[in-house]
Symmetry: C2
Amino acid sequence: MSDQARPSPPPFDPERFRVEGRAVVDWIADYWATLASRRVTPDVSPGVVAGQLPPGPPEGPDSLAEVLADLDRIIVPGLTHWQHPSFFGYFPASASGPSILGELLAAGLGVQGMLWATSPACTELETKVLDWLRDLLGLPERFASIGAGGGVIQDSASSGVLVAMVAARERATGQRTNAAGLAGFDRPLVAYASDDAHSSVEKAAGIIGVGREGLRKIPVDHRGCMDALALATAMDADAAVGRVPFFVAATVGTTASGAIDPVAEIAAIAARHAAWLHVDAAWAGAAAICPEFRGELVAGADRADSWGFNPHKWLLVNFDCHALWVADRRAIVSALSMKPEYLRNRASESGAVIDYADWQVPLGRRFRALKLWMTLRMLGAEALRGHIRRHVSWASEFADLVAADPRFDLLLPPNLSLVCFALKAGDDATRELLDRVNATGRTFLTHARVGGRFAIRLAVGGGTTTRDDVLATWRVLENLA
Amino acid sequence: MSDQARPSPPPFDPERFRVEGRAVVDWIADYWATLASRRVTPDVSPGVVAGQLPPGPPEGPDSLAEVLADLDRIIVPGLTHWQHPSFFGYFPASASGPSILGELLAAGLGVQGMLWATSPACTELETKVLDWLRDLLGLPERFASIGAGGGVIQDSASSGVLVAMVAARERATGQRTNAAGLAGFDRPLVAYASDDAHSSVEKAAGIIGVGREGLRKIPVDHRGCMDALALATAMDADAAVGRVPFFVAATVGTTASGAIDPVAEIAAIAARHAAWLHVDAAWAGAAAICPEFRGELVAGADRADSWGFNPHKWLLVNFDCHALWVADRRAIVSALSMKPEYLRNRASESGAVIDYADWQVPLGRRFRALKLWMTLRMLGAEALRGHIRRHVSWASEFADLVAADPRFDLLLPPNLSLVCFALKAGDDATRELLDRVNATGRTFLTHARVGGRFAIRLAVGGGTTTRDDVLATWRVLENLA
């Protein structure tokens, strides 16, 4: 029977939300204010967190105070604090106040931007903000929405390369494989990326049916940059035996060492085979906001089919926010669009609007443009440039300290804010040093293999990081070496 | 040079965040408090929102007040209000206060759960909360993390079916195609789903290289349920000519009419061909939290390889939150795992932990378990059951009104809270009525094709919806018919 009286409180009560929202905002402010005093990484063994949680689900409601108490008692001690000022591992993924507020607004509005028609402003703000960002980074006009291209927010660079590779596969096969599958296509497709390209390129090749072995890994030079001559040779050899070189991923800022592939040269080679050129600038792309770093970061972008970077890495937008631009939006839409009856609408059929579900794997999508918009507006481009410049400067200073210490090898001059170094004593000693440094809980660094050696990486990128934090990390290293 | 003095304010200032966070919380509370007085859908043409935004990005910072003013002036008038009490389109995706607070906490903590080691509590809470949810829904033990299975949060049901289909492809080809690609596999793979299955199944078949034509669409009966005999015939016929039936998607609650495929029968047929059985219960799955609805929703789940539903649809967790369970987690991990040097760590190598990046397309992941945890704890299971029950009851009442009006055909008895109906006067008249009803801005419904007819759908699922809103929508329909 119907139930007008409502036996339980509504799931959204504005007045309750006002009170509880403030409590959570205060909890977060307190968390950030005390971050520096915490260990960066937790000291927990597998199962310790889970073991403190009840085995079964709650039947009745708990108060926010009870939940926050458990958050403090059980969850927080088991976290790696990615926003900690001394987080220098992987690439930092740094949030900012404005971006968190944007995420909160997106959750509060709770709109779905799968089609223009399902919330027009969600789509139009995204298109506009990505045009702004293209402008700020000095990316070519071909990616502007006013022409044949445009930008879209994906969750991550992995998804960005996946959709680019699907579009490339379709273009290379005359739009055949999306419908008929790859089994019916008798010439093997081949993709290319450097040995140091991100693992997501290989993962995408596996997912889309080309196969991980269908990705040729091109050697890198001593700096970690793709050897363009080796790429040309490999593509020519494949084409000569009837394979189809369909996709090249150039990396601008490799994960291992921040190396920048020679994109302009690669573009010329890819063009000879009509292969799709995707530029993965996930981390380093953000630095193109500074004119003095831009040159090598966007070189060749004017010949790329797609170009992506993560504002959620180094541009102070909280995860997830990957910005992907394409030169020809029809290529991506024709590969990914699905319009069953229940999604049809006049705006889509008019061709006058963008339906972003056609640019991605999932159908649904959050209003992620809000957090990018709020970050750009409330911080402003000049503050973002200062943020990047300080990190590059501190990394340079850190590299000088490494280079001056006779026990250490600076493996490469720093690429932007990434420093790779090792002990002269060898890989085992370097690995042991890294473990001992991280075990202090006072700083956090991760490793990679650079020029065949086990390297410690210092990636400066945290929104809360100061020069003192960088120098303090050097002192920990110096003392434990 | 280094820069210790900091020329611009830090991107996260706890005291500023306290003040601005409160303002945004209040903005959201005000938005929800005034939702009912707004049009559900906006009255805007393509380009109107974009045209009000500046052409270029901001150089200097704007205040939160300026940004919120633009939000009110430019963005909100261009939104479809998915949280509006009279939103009955598609399937509602309803947030709740606790889920929004969980999203806010996840953004505030800003941790990355790609590996157990990158934030252990993020992984362990997710595993535990999905075990709780399995328990609440009465799903079989095989999906519990204590055995060979386990649950994972994906962004959407589209991504859930994609990863299930990749795992199925690998299993069917002896783990060959992930490495060698599909071109090297000479027996065509065939997937199956009903004519009324979600478009994401076909999209996934295209993406993974099987091809959209490699998905056989099995006819449905007059209720929209897959014809199991037709499935058996199709699978046998494919196998007889050397094709490989590798994947079956059964739908529990189709988008068009909420129909429930006969999963137990389908499971038996799929098993004869060793095909992977994926159950897409995106919308209807939530209702399994109520014992009285559970029976037909989980029937056959004990033989499914994967089973997914969206807490973000009808369980008051804000988008995005798709819960996917697999019976054999090795199948999904072996298809999707990538561990380049820079991600290697002792915990992963011990085999004692879950690395959720191995269960999904992207590498990075947000701490989405928090919003599920907070929703379950702060509302409690019994309130969630009441939420579902009220909607089912109101939909039944609405269906009775439709059935009693001689101008209308109730096309099917309601499936849970979904009612499909049409005018006896035919498709054109029905479509015109839908347009006129939606043009009022007072309610919002969408359409589908049901039994060949153009159908108006009323999907009750909003967290703010009351019985009065459902009845008021009937009055609008009645008056305009």
